[in-house]
């Protein structure tokens, strides 16, 4: 199988190089057979990549320790599920996963557009082929999953990093990769539009859903990663502005800006250059994110591998930026706006401000990530950029962004008059000010940023609520029917708009969860002898003894903490440590979540007295409303799905616009 897998990888490289070359020739000659051949090359490349994946998985489950990816990341005792998912624990394996998603997405995008965008598609194939050739070249020649171990073949493997032995790690990396990799498709369409001079809105229509998929996958992947960090890493939080977390956040912010500015180009013919810049930035940041995760240049709780691919990835990012910049400059005359911004008090202006703030936040995060690297390169000293830096910019840029999430939906296109502004915003503003006063009276004024954020959350919630209420009332006035029917009709007829509002609500829920759980959290540490108790935020935790129990490939040593509140029992918490058969040690926190408040009682075992007395050192946190952070993920996905759901009315309109008018040219 190893030989077959290795040949399959070389074949993927050859096929993707061919796809790129055939795409260029098809674009230059207008040869449809070459285009079809290029498209077929991606299907063959996907098949060959899957053969390579199966070959690696076969080596993993049969414990072929002659391969480095098997020997370094698995052991005979590792449960089968984690053995299979250890494919993406290694650099070489994760590169293969990246390649599988890339060839799959490319084949699908080309298949979807086989009868559309005929002028663009050869160049889309060429760009996607170039990207895939780069990554398959890395997998085949630089960091192969079929590389053998140096020296004698070990009897057993080193085992999988304990923190990766968590169900979230089965889903979190593939979800992030889906997000990173699918950003290639919008980038390829943008470059094809620039190469062909087809800078009309057609390419935007084709990539909107791909951008949404990428953006939703990155958002979901980040939240899965945050939940993994919360339940596995054991410091009591879920987001630490870690470089690898930031790696996913930066392209997500750029993609969020792009999804908003696309609307302005489609409706007003503005921001054409800006959209090209954004899509190039989002793709470059996605590859840069891969560089951060895989190169080992940053220290991160999420980074488990160091490999030789770092310089290649960095060179690729530089090449992508140079290529995109050159094309944008070349096509500047075609990218002139059809209309000018007529008033700063208009919806297009709020979209523009939203874009500037999102990009400013993305670049503040980027600077925070690269500063330690630059500092080490220039001064030879590694500096650290810590949480206060990021928190500062999150407040400076994030709070106005939150306000815009409420202002944007209620403001009219082109120009809003003072009368309409007063009429539209009076209730949201009154609600936010009243809410702020109430929160202040409740004692939440200790954090100005927190109070402002929560007040803005009220503002946004009221604006979104009003949008749904007024829209439903208008729909009923127009078509009659019940309220639920009118609401369903309203959302169904305006999926992008109302799906977007649901995402705005998810952001509100996230902000409330983050604000409450970070600004109003309490923590305490104690040494407890058996029978001794500690008290925190009304809870009493009593050491009921230290125990052990066996797991599939580890022994779990834990303390049993009996929890009570006001004399009523609230069950037990059992934080502990897993000592794996391979000698690795992993912390296991225990969390008790209470509904509906979403408050978590979070316990960490910091040490066990080695005199067998049963004494332990523990840390306990009370994290209020942290459940809202995870709820936000569910609402976010719901909003993304509404926005993504195909709209037959829109499809008919596009068919009329592009199909009838230019049928003979295959536009």
């Amino acid at each position: 199988m190893t030989t077959l897998g290795r040949v399959a990888l070389y074949l993927v490289f050859a096929l993707t190089v061919y796809a790129a070359v055939a795409g260029v020739l098809a674009g230059r000659r207008g040869d449809r057979r070459l285009m079809r051949s290029s498209r077929n090359a991606f299907i063959a490349a996907l098949g060959a990549t899957l053969v390579a994946v199966v070959a690696v998985e076969y080596a993993l489950v049969t414990h072929d320790f002659s391969l480095a990816v098997v020997a370094e990341h698995t052991s005979r005792q590792l449960p089968t599920g984690y053995t299979l998912s250890s494919l993406w624990a290694s650099e070489a394996g994760s590169l293969l996963l990246w390649l599988a998603v890339l060839t799959g997405a490319s084949a699908l995008a080309l298949r979807q557009n086989r009868n559309r965008n005929r002028e663009l598609m050869p160049w889309v194939a060429a760009v996607l082929g170039g990207i895939a050739a780069f990554f398959s070249g890395l997998a085949a020649f630089v960091s192969s999953p079929f590389a053998h171990v140096a020296g004698a073949v070990p009897v057993d493997g080193a085992g999988l990093d304990p923190s990766l032995q968590n169900p979230y790690m089965v889903a979190h990396p593939p979800m992030l990769y889906l997000g990173y990799v699918t950003m290639s498709v919008p980038f390829a369409f943008a470059m094809a539009a620039l190469i062909t001079g087809r800078t009309d809105a057609r390419w935007l229509v084709s990539v909107r859903r791909w951008t949404l998929v990428s953006w939703a996958a990155l958002g979901t992947g980040m939240l899965l990663g945050a939940h993994w960090a919360y339940v596995e890493i054991g410091w009591g939080g879920y987001w630490a502005w870690d470089p690898v977390e930031n790696a996913a956040l930066m392209p997500w912010l750029a993609a969020t800006a792009f999804l908003h500015s696309v609307i302005v180009q489609e409706k007003k013919g503005m921001l054409k250059v800006w959209n090209m810049v954004l899509v190039s930035a989002a793709f470059s940041l996605a590859v840069f994110g891969d560089f951060l995760t895989r190169s080992g240049v940053v220290q991160s709780v999420h980074s488990f591998v160091q490999s030789p691919v770092g310089p290649y990835l960095l060179a690729f990012v530089a090449a992508v930026l140079a290529f995109a910049t050159a094309l944008i400059i070349w096509r500047l005359p075609l990218l002139r706006a059809d209309h000018r911004l007529e008033s700063v008090i208009s919806r297009e202006a709020t979209f523009l401000f939203n874009n500037l703030l999102l990009l400013a936040l993305a670049f503040a995060v980027l600077w925070g990530v690269i500063f330690p690297i630059l500092s080490e390169a220039v001064r030879g000293v590694r500096s650290t950029v810590s949480t206060p830096y990021y928190d500062f910019f999150l407040v400076i840029f994030g709070l106005p962004l939150l306000a815009l999430a409420g202002i944007g939906p209620l403001i009219a296109w082109r120009r809003a008059s003072p009368d309409s502004l007063i009429r539209t915003f009076r209730w949201p503003v009154v609600s936010a000010l009243s809410g702020a006063a109430l929160l202040w009276l409740l004692g939440l004024g200790s954090s100005t940023a927190g109070l402002t954020a929560l007040s803005l959350c009220i503002f946004v919630t009221v604006t979104v609520g009003l949008e749904f209420a007024r829209g439903t009332a208008a729909r009923r006035a127009l078509a009659g029917g019940s309220v639920p029917r009118a609401l369903l009709d309203l959302v169904s007829r305006n999926r992008r708009r109302y799906g977007g509002y649901v995402v705005h609500l998810a952001i509100v829920i996230l902000v409330v969860g983050v604000t409450a759980s970070s600004a109003y959290s309490t923590a305490d540490s104690a040494h407890l002898a058996v029978g001794q108790s500690m008290h925190i935020d009304g809870y009493t935790l009593k050491n009921a003894g230290v125990f052990q129990r066996p797991g599939p490939n580890y022994t779990f040593e834990y303390v049993r903490l009996a929890v009570s509140r006001g004399g009523t029992s609230h069950g037990v918490l059992e934080p502990g440590q897993r000592v794996y058969d391979t000698g690795q040690v992993g912390n296991e926190v225990d969390i008790r979540s209470s509904l509906p408040s979403g408050t978590d009682l979070y316990s960490i075992l910091q040490g066990v007295d080695r005199d067998s007395s049963g004494g332990v050192s523990v840390k306990v946190l009370v994290n209020p409303a942290v459940g809202l952070v995870w709820l936000a993920g569910v609402v976010f996905l719901l909003g993304a799905l509404i926005t993504l759901w195909p709209d037959p009315r829109e499809a008919r309109q596009l068919a009329r616009r592009y199909g009838e008018l230019l049928a003979r040219s295959g536009a």
Partner: protein, 97 residues
């Protein structure tokens, strides 16, 4: 899997891939060369997008009126402007037909 079987499987994989990419050149299906957009086609396309954008803006404006985001006076002025824009685009499209 024996070495011989692996080599045979690899050879079959390569041959299958070659067949897949060569198929458009050997299949009986024939297609003419791709037609590129003329300048008139590009102009039509730009006008069709402008027409649809004007229609969409009119629909948004109606929605904004019904949901109280614009006053009646603002609505009338903007509606007239958008209708004039749509009429201009349609006239230009007609001239190109």
């Amino acid at each position: 899997m024996t070495a011989a079987a692996a080599v045979a499987a690899a050879a079959a994989l390569v041959m299958l891939a070659v067949l897949i990419i060569a198929w458009p050149f050997v299949s009986p299906e024939r297609e003419g060369p791709e037609q590129r957009l003329s300048d008139d086609d590009r102009r039509r396309l730009a006008l069709a997008e402008a027409r649809d954008a004007a229609y969409a803006s009119l629909r948004d404006l109606e929605h904004d009126l019904r949901t109280g985001k614009v006053t009646e006076a603002d609505y009338q002025a903007e509606r007239d402007r958008l209708r004039a824009e749509a009429a201009r685009v349609l006239r230009e499209l007609d001239q190109l037909r």
